[in-house]
């Protein structure tokens, strides 16, 4: 949708943008091959991947070729490896966790917490960042339950978490597993609050888990329900065009495409290296660059700084409870 809008508005520096899609199948090795293929096909910039386990592998290919890559991945490690060509569209877990920890401590007054997390690059990064924050805030972690990627049966996980005496459960799983977890938690009558990140309260999870997602809370970087007119307008156009509701990943893709456009126009020429250099330390204000939807800054590692939201799910819909400042 972003590329169509950019092309309708005259493209980038007067040139029409050609978008080619490659299916990574959420598989690290396939994604590596696809990124190589995209570069061999002459890609000027890359959008994706979202799955952290894939990005950590395929970003090395983009780095070798010197092609800027806008990723939707949130594993902290991705921007900690010194790759000058990787840029996030949504901040890493290490930036989310302090906000969640503060909410657990100050708003929910929680002193004991349990963690359900997926044993993958994404999950490990988030888990470690969360545990570090719990130590800092003096909140006791009473159960620490890892699960496998694509796990289907969460009965034993939920039993352990339920019996741990935790006052809240932090759920850090990928979306499909989050939905299965929520269904199992509802089945077993878990009564303590379930708190998580985008992957717990995203639209896809709500669609899959149904009313089992009601009452969950999460910190999100991007949501179509953000109290920001530009985001809501984008979400509305998306739904009209594709007949389903935009989720955070749709918004990430939209912002990524526009970020490439604006950075290239600031450089003034179609030079991938110069675009990557320009993005480091760049701030794009939504007032002047409406495609980024919200003011956004990339630091010298490609990490993002931006406002975020605390969201609750009620009646199958996300409700923004608070807007949290950029950190």
């Amino acid at each position: 949708m972003a590329i169509e809008e950019i092309n309708a508005g005259g493209g980038i520096l007067g040139k029409q943008v050609e978008l080619t899609q490659y299916d990574s199948q959420s598989d690290a090795q396939t994604s590596r091959a696809m990124v190589q293929k995209a570069i061999d096909d002459g890609a000027f910039a890359l959008l994706g991947t979202v799955y952290s386990g894939s990005t950590i592998v395929n970003m090395l290919v983009a780095q070798q070729a010197g092609i800027p890559q806008m990723t939707g991945s949130e594993a902290p490690k991705i921007t900690a490896l010194g790759n000058p060509y990787i840029f996030r569209t949504s901040f890493g877990a290490q930036k989310s966790m302090p906000k969640i920890a503060a909410y657990l401590k100050d708003e929910m007054k929680v002193s004991k917490v349990a963690i359900a997390w997926v044993n993958s690059e994404f999950g490990k990064g988030g888990h470690d960042a969360f545990v570090a924050q719990m130590e800092e805030k003096g909140i006791e972690v009473v159960a620490d339950v890892p699960s496998e990627n694509a796990q289907a049966d969460f009965a034993s996980d939920v039993v352990k978490l339920k019996g741990s005496g935790a006052e809240a459960i932090f759920v850090y799983l990928t979306e499909e597993e989050s939905a299965r977890f929520l269904r199992e938690a509802k089945k077993q009558g878990v009564s303590v609050p379930l708190v998580g990140e985008t992957t717990l309260i995203g639209q896809k999870v709500i669609d899959l888990a149904g009313d089992a997602s009601d009452g969950t809370l999460g910190h999100v970087s991007l949501t179509p329900d953000a109290p920001i007119p530009a985001v809501q307008e984008m979400a509305k156009k998306f739904e009209e065009k594709y007949k389903y509701r935009a989720d955070h990943n749709a918004i990430k893709g939209y912002i990524g495409a526009y970020a490439i456009k604006y950075a290239t126009e600031l450089v003034g020429e179609l030079d991938s290296q110069k675009v990557a250099d320009k993005l480091h330390g760049l701030t794009l204000k939504a007032a002047e660059h409406p495609g980024v939807l919200m003011d956004i800054t990339w630091d010298d590692t490609g990490e993002v700084s931006r406002e975020s939201f605390l969201v609750g799910v009620e009646g199958g819909k996300q409700t923004v409870k608070a807007t949290l400042p950029a950190n």
């Binding site: 699960s147 496998e148 049966d153 034993s156 996980d157 499909e176 899959l208």
Partner: protein
């Protein structure tokens, strides 16, 4: 205690669904020496038939389920036998193994290509309320899964032992040559076996999809677990597959809770190795002699 009970009951509920798929393995093996490595995909696919019925044809849930059952009987029962097994059977077991592996991949990729690569919500057949049993909160869904699976197995046992057709099927499985001399239409009996396998896979699909969500890749774990369950229980006994399925379901949950969540997938395999070493015919299986 409540925790142990909760884990055991959840394991039994999931295990009973594995048992349905495992019984399919044993039936096909007995009827046609077929090891169906697409069995997991046979469980995955009917859920998508239901979704097509509901979302594409606009059918209500229970009509869509009947539609799915009918399609499964035709495609996964009759057509599977006619187009895949019959041409391969004269060439021995190995070509059938390869053909069913290929079929499984084809089914998986077709669902991904023509329906969706993403998990789909699947409606639960019963209420999601829970009841308290000695401190363990057990859902109606778990109770229904266990009850429906056991009912299906009991009905199948009754059919095989208590009806003329069932006994003819058993005779065909034990010795097709003699059965034919005695006037049994062995081709029809083998077809019935394939149809029953398709029906079992369909029931398993209806029960497991509300929990696992409908996804193209669901077949792999289900097929593997059902295969292990069939071997552990005894590949030539229906009640063995039932015991194997229930045992694997409970052991998997207990392992995840009390041993290690990371190694939960390894525990059923360890059980398999122990059974093969100690009792190669499986817990309930009978040793088979074969002339070489």
């Amino acid at each position: 205690m409540a925790e142990f009970l909760q884990i055991t009951l959840s394991g039994l509920a999931t295990g009973s669904i594995y048992a349905l798929a495992a019984i399919g393995f044993t039936l096909l093996w007995q009827a046609s020496q077929t090891i169906n490595f697409a069995q997991g995909e046979f469980v995955m696919l009917p859920a998508f038939f239901v979704l097509i019925g509901m979302h594409v044809l606009g059918l209500p849930l229970f009509v869509a389920m009947l539609f799915a059952l009918l399609l499964s009987l035709i495609l996964l029962g009759a057509m599977f036998k006619k187009l895949v097994i019959e041409p391969m059977l004269p060439h021995g077991t190995l070509p059938i193994v390869m053909a069913t592996i290929a079929l499984g991949i084809l089914m998986k990729e077709s669902v991904k290509e023509f329906y969706s690569a993403e998990a789909q919500p699947f409606p639960a057949l019963v209420s999601d309320r829970t009841v308290d049993i000695f401190g363990a909160s057990v859902s109606f869904q778990d109770i229904a899964n266990l009850a429906i699976s056991l009912l299906v197995v009991v009905a199948l046992q009754f059919f095989l032992n208590g009806t003329r057709t069932g006994r003819c099927m058993q005779a065909t499985a034990q010795n097709p040559g003699v059965a034919e001399i005695l006037g049994v239409n062995i081709k029809r009996m083998v077809l019935y076996t394939f149809l029953i396998n398709a029906a079992l896979a369909t029931v398993a699909s209806f029960l497991i999809s509300p929990i696992y969500l409908a996804k193209f890749s669901n077949g792999e774990p289900i097929g593997l677990v059902a295969f292990i369950a069939a071997i552990v229980g005894g590949f030539n006994q229906i009640r063995g597959a039932l015991v194997g399925g229930l045992l694997i379901g409970v052991v998997d949950n207990l392992a995840a809770s009390y041993v290690s969540a990371q190694y939960r997938a390894a525990v059923p395999l360890l059980l398999l190795i122990v059974i093969i070493l100690v009792r190669p015919q499986g817990i309930m299986g009978k040793a088979e002699g074969r002339t070489v």
